[in-house]
Amino acid sequence: MTGRWVDTGRAFWKGRRSAAALLPGLGPATGAEGGSRLRLARSLRRNGFVAVVALAVAVELGSAVNHAIAIVRTGYHDLGAPRYATRDADLDPFAYFLSTDALVLARQLIPRDATYTVVVGNDPPVSDATDIPVVFRFWLAPRRYTSAVADAQWVITYHQVSKALSLRYSRQFGLGPDANLLRVER
């Protein structure tokens, strides 16, 4: 009985060198302890594990190659695409929210040490009224933002009629079709 097991194991691992050449660790178990049957059992267990790991690695590689094709294709497609100037890349994304011209002009006109606020009206209606002040705050740093109109030296009105604010202002600047900038008189 024992001999048959040993024979089977030896036959299975007759080409030991070629099996190990496939993957590291693949091959019969070695070691002094235990008999032939134990060695065979250990070999099968170990080789089973190596086979499972190899299968897992193959699956990983398959998924990775599958996804990589699309990524490389995108990269290749973008190879000839135009590059943005840094300033354009800074500013263009905000066109989603409002006219970027308003951002640029406001930055040019409001002094760096001034305090300002943003009043968003509804004429014509604005879909995301809360986003507009956030975008102005993002772009106008280090100018100080205040939520209180009374504390502001400058007021940006967005979709808002300036005169309706009952503010005394010394000057009004147009920031494009949607916004005005008021210099408040104190």
Binding site: P24, V53, L55, S63, A68, Y84
Partner: protein, 606 residues
């Protein structure tokens, strides 16, 4: 986009700092190894400089390019001195396998990672970012960086006007550094830097993994992460979540490396990554602390007394405390108004909110499954990967137990935040879940490769536990050590299985307890008080009001479903002001799916 060459100088400085530290620790040496560890050098240098600059700014140092250069020079000089005085043998790569299938797997994995790196760089140079998709970056992360850049330091007045002032400063500091090297306030350069950081993470993961596991296992697993849709599509994002994922995953690899071979250099590397993660975002601190606790516990079991050295991984908590001290000194709030960790100590409050836990558990599990299958393939295809990890757990129990325990602990920390959080659970998870969860999935994929790779090696067994002396104080740990090390892998497998089942059952029982517990019995007045504090006080805090509140509810009906609640508040800035008002609360007899109680001003008390 034309990126200025000025940035390259700053990045080279970070890489030099990282290289110096890696050389001291013996992770690299002059020669070809430098190229291999370029990504790792950058990630380490970025982390070290980020921590150093954050601490310097908290201490009041001015923010400037000169500060960065001086800090980098001091660190490099220190590393040179240490290297000369205490030379360390360089950690060698594992010998490359001559088996042709292994070579093929390594080559294919390397090709995929390389092509993704090149493609990512090309795509990053031609695309713009999406402020609407990364709204928090537009709202406060980048404005914080702008405030540091313009104020030449941490300006408490400016910090106070920005949302979430309590979030740690490392990310804004490094973004401000990008502005400094980039020659002005150029938000688009942050996306370039983030892409570089993402690429360096991939290369760093490869560099670390190939120190301990065969490359034919390391390369494919990193390739899976690199090509995962949720990784590639967010590699440019200026949000800090992806960065935290890089740092925490790298820290986990290094920590498990120490568990594997006991070399302390791994711990120092892990410390650098975890410190940077803790100073990047609150979640980074939670996950770093969870990792430290797991590594200390398993480390003591595996390495005995020497395992205590892993307590160094708790050092990032000191950095967080330093940041909190700065916030306190300038009258800024120190905790996130969306939740209070002390709520976890209020059982009846937690019991009344199990519907949130139930929702979060389902949502987290569903999202994790989606992320995993989108990265590695549909469920059946993942069976070999799961089987390989399960089999490896029997062969390398200590590392496997640590990896699984940390992943579970980190996941439970996330669930706990959703459980006690103030915002509506649906909104809270929608906004944060898909940003935060990829951290676990990326870490799980890479750590699974580490566990499998360690298990498959026959000739690099970890340090065996030494023979213990009788009556040694660590003797009680010996049995557990026997289970967790090579002496009895079957017992380890059984223990791991039982532990996993118990944890799973525990989560299930807690999450599904709502029909029978606290949602249909008498309303717990203590829980109601805490709920009102949670809803209102945190709302005030989020609005910037430094209030503390006390709520006292009393039943006003025979059926105990109507309550009158007296709310008193104290303004910490003006202690003489103590606004107080009464609030009516109405509760339903039974409510399983919807909030049970509502305040008289229409607030749903969950």
């Amino acid at each position: 986009m034309s990126v200025g060459f000025e940035l390259a100088g700053g990045d080279a400085l970070a890489a030099a700092v990282g290289y110096a530290l890696l050389a001291v620790l013996g992770f690299t040496r002059l020669g070809r190894a430098n190229v291999r560890t370029l990504g790792l050098s950058y990630l380490v240098g970025w982390s070290v400089l980020g921590c150093a600059l954050s601490v310097l700014l908290i201490a009041g140092a001015p923010f400037a390019v000169a500060t960065d250069v001086i800090a980098a020079s001091v660190i490099v000089a220190g590393c040179v001195v240490v290297r000369r005085r205490w030379p360390v043998e360089a950690l060698a790569l594992l010998p490359r396998s001559k088996a042709w299938l292994a070579w093929l797997a390594s080559a294919l994995g390397g090709l995929v990672v390389g092509s993704v790196v090149v493609s990512t760089a090309v795509v990053a140079s031609t695309t713009e970012w999406n402020p609407a998709g990364d709204w928090d970056a537009t709202w406060f992360w980048i404005p914080k960086a702008a405030s540091i850049y313009y104020a030449h330091g941490l300006d408490p007045a400016a910090w106070r006007t920005l949302n979430h002032p309590e979030y740690p400063p490392l990310i804004p500091v490094m973004d401000a550094l990008t502005f400094s090297f980039g020659g002005g306030f150029h938000p688009s350069l942050i996306m370039v830097q983030q892409t570089l950081l993402g690429i360096s993470f991939l290369l760093a993961a490869l560099a670390l993994l190939t120190k301990v596991i065969p490359s034919w296992i390391a390369y494919p697993s990193v390739a899976v992460v690199a090509t995962a849709p949720w990784f590639f599509s967010r590699i440019q994002t200026p949000m800090p979540d992806q960065t935290v994922a890089y740092l925490v995953t790298a820290g986990a690899i290094a920590s498990l490396g120490w568990l594997h071979d006991g070399r302390r250099r791994w711990l120092i590397l892990a410390l650098v990554f975890l410190a940077a993660a803790s100073l990047s975002k609150l979640e980074g601190g939670f996950w770093s602390a969870a990792l430290a606790l797991v590594v200390i516990a398993v480390g003591i079991v595996v390495h005995r007394r020497q395992g205590l050295v892993a307590a160094i991984l708790l050092a990032p908590l000191a950095l967080i405390e330093l940041w909190r001290a700065w916030l306190t000194a300038h009258g800024l709030r120190t905790s996130n108004p969306d939740y209070s960790l002390t709520s976890l100590l209020h059982p009846s409050f937690l019991a009344g909110r199990t519907a949130r836990l139930s929702y979060a558990t389902t949502a987290v599990a569903h999202t994790a499954e989606h992320l995993l299958t989108s990265a590695a393939g549909p469920g059946p295809v993942m069976v070999p990967l799961i089987a390989a990890v399960a089999l490896a757990t029997r062969r390398r129990p200590a590392v496997a137990v640590a990896a699984v325990a940390w992943t579970l602990l980190a996941g439970m920390a996330l669930l706990a935040i959703y459980w006690i959080g103030r915002p509506s659970i649906v909104w809270y998870f929608d906004v944060t879940g898909t940003r935060v969860e990829p951290t676990f999935v990326a870490a799980a994929l890479i750590l699974s490769a580490l566990v499998v790779g360690l298990a498959i090696q026959t000739d690099t067994t970890p340090r065996q536990p030494r023979v213990l002396q009788p009556r040694q104080i660590w003797r009680p740990l010996d049995r557990l050590a026997t289970v967790l090390t090579h002496r009895d892998p079957r017992a380890a497998g059984a223990l791991g299985t039982v532990a996993a089942i118990l944890v799973g059952l525990g989560v299930f029982v807690i999450a599904d307890a709502r029909p029978t517990f606290s949602r249909n019995g008498a309303v717990d007045v203590g829980a109601l008080n805490h709920e009102i504090v949670s809803q209102f006080l945190y709302g005030f805090l989020a609005g910037g009001y430094p209030l503390t509140a006390h709520v006292s509810c009393r039943s006003s009906s025979a059926d105990n479903l109507q309550f009158g609640c007296f709310v008193t508040t104290t303004n910490r800035a003006h202690p003489s002001e103590e606004p107080a008002w009464n609030l009516g609360v109405t509760c339903l007899p039974v409510s399983i799916e919807s909030p049970r109680c509502f305040s008289s001003n229409g607030e749903a008390l969950q």
